[in-house]
Symmetry: C2
Subunit: 246 residues, 2 copies
DNA sequence: TCAAAAGTGTTCGGTTTACACCCATGG
DNA sequence: CCATGGGTGTAAACCGAACACTTTTGA
């Protein structure tokens, strides 16, 4: 681009772009994947659910804007929100995606452990956790963004240590397994899951305290913390749909 | 975002954003990975190499702009350029990434078979294919973009059929293997590579013509075409660096 | 004493790896 | 006739899915 910037290029010469961030925030509530949505209070799409988000301010990066919006929309303290996993998805730039003006939106996926019900972070419209799949048609192109985010998260569970981002600082292997099961929508073999997780170096590390805890009934489970690794070797592959040709 | 758009929001109220695309265009020239770069003719970074790119026009999407710039910068016909693989990488939006103004850039990775030397696609500065790794320090944040693009392409070779995008319509398995070797910088076992590729359904399909061809010396190789698949099952994993702990 | 969840062991079968070996062609 | 690259075969090592079994808790 920069190579052929017209020398006297004036960015105000034609209608400017607005740049926003849109957030697909996922969490696990009682073993179901939930997504954070806000109800639109204005036209267009008044009354429809939409992804939270907002404008990128003149002196901040999209990453910074996304982190700021994440804190505002979840109603969490900035310190807590700073710990949530946040990653850029892709940018949506169809000219007519917003009928009011030219808006280019950088989409993000965020995820965290069971988060509290969002308390009005300044905006009037209500914000809620909805079980993923029950949200119906969203405003603008947010259906596509949300689907892309879900695909991305599901794929990254396979070959990264992302799953720990859904868990509290200390967690059991059962909780970790339920992350995979909720996002993928499949049941995993418990013994094999345990072995795979423990053999992948850097994925989890035992919590050093006298680690025991109960999740209701059953034998108390050992507690673990996230290991330092980000990549998962070997990967934890999603069980493949049974092919008819096999 | 849209939920809390101020009702009377005027996008001209503060300094607008410019939105651009930057392209990391890869090709294979005599078994080496090359990148398309343009020499900057103006400040800042006059004389430095940079990624090709340009502004997103008021009525086009970033994808459209990237495709248009790809055709212009490579000097290929629009028809030919339309066949190149193009995919969005991510968006770079640090406030000071361009000292002249606020520029948000959507980065793309593009790749194609051995392409001709770029003929001046309208811009004065020269454009060239440089062997990847020999390009030195690029202008702006283009070092980071190029590195991200290379990482992405290398990773996608593992679990997608992307490698065929580096090949002409009909290609031999040796040519396909050299794509992997050039991008990954490793040598692959020829017999095992062949079996993996042929057993992955939809990756390649035999060219029906009486397929024979010579690549110089040696036995003529059968010709293949890209199969319809985009995902690669099972994946073709990069040989892992030998760990000291093994 | 039973249900539920954690944790361990074992078997079986397919896949991957590291080779050896033959084939066809140009110099 | 040799070097070069294409193509086939194979045995050992490895890995993963499936499932039996024990342990420890709450009800």
């Amino acid at each position: 681009m920069h190579a052929q910037v017209p020398d006297g290029y004036d960015p105000r010469a034609f209608e400017p772009f607005a740049v926003t961030v849109d957030l697909a925030v996922f969490t696990l509530r009682d073993d179901r994947l939930h997504v954070l949505l806000v109800r639109r209070g204005e036209e267009p799409h008044r009354g429809r659910w939409a992804l939270p988000g907002g404008f990128v301010l003149p002196r901040e990066s999209a990453d910074t804007a996304a982190r700021r919006e994440l804190a505002e929309e979840t109603g969490l303290s900035a310190g807590t929100a700073a710990h949530l996993h946040l990653e850029q998805l892709r940018t949506y730039s169809e000219p007519d995606r917003d009928p009011r003006m030219r808006v280019v939106s950088v989409a993000y996926a965020a995820l965290g452990p069971d988060l509290p019900e969002p308390r009005g972070g300044g905006d009037a419209a209500d914000a809620r956790w909805l079980p993923y799949g029950t949200q119906g048609a969203l405003a603008f192109d947010h259906d596509a963004i949300l689907a892309d985010a879900h695909d991305r998260v599901g794929a990254k569970l396979e070959y990264t240590c992302l799953a720990t981002a859904f868990c509290p600082p200390e967690f059991t292997l059962g909780e970790l397994r339920r992350v995979y099961e909720a996002v993928w929508g499949v049941a995993l073999d418990r013994p094999n899951f345990r072995r795979k997780v423990l053999s992948a170096q850097g994925f989890v590390r035992p919590a050093q305290g006298p680690p025991r805890l109960t999740g209701g009934r059953g034998k108390p489970a050992a507690l673990y913390r996230a290991g330092g690794a980000t990549a998962l070797h070997p990967p934890l592959l999603r069980p493949e749909r049974r092919e008819t040709t096999t």
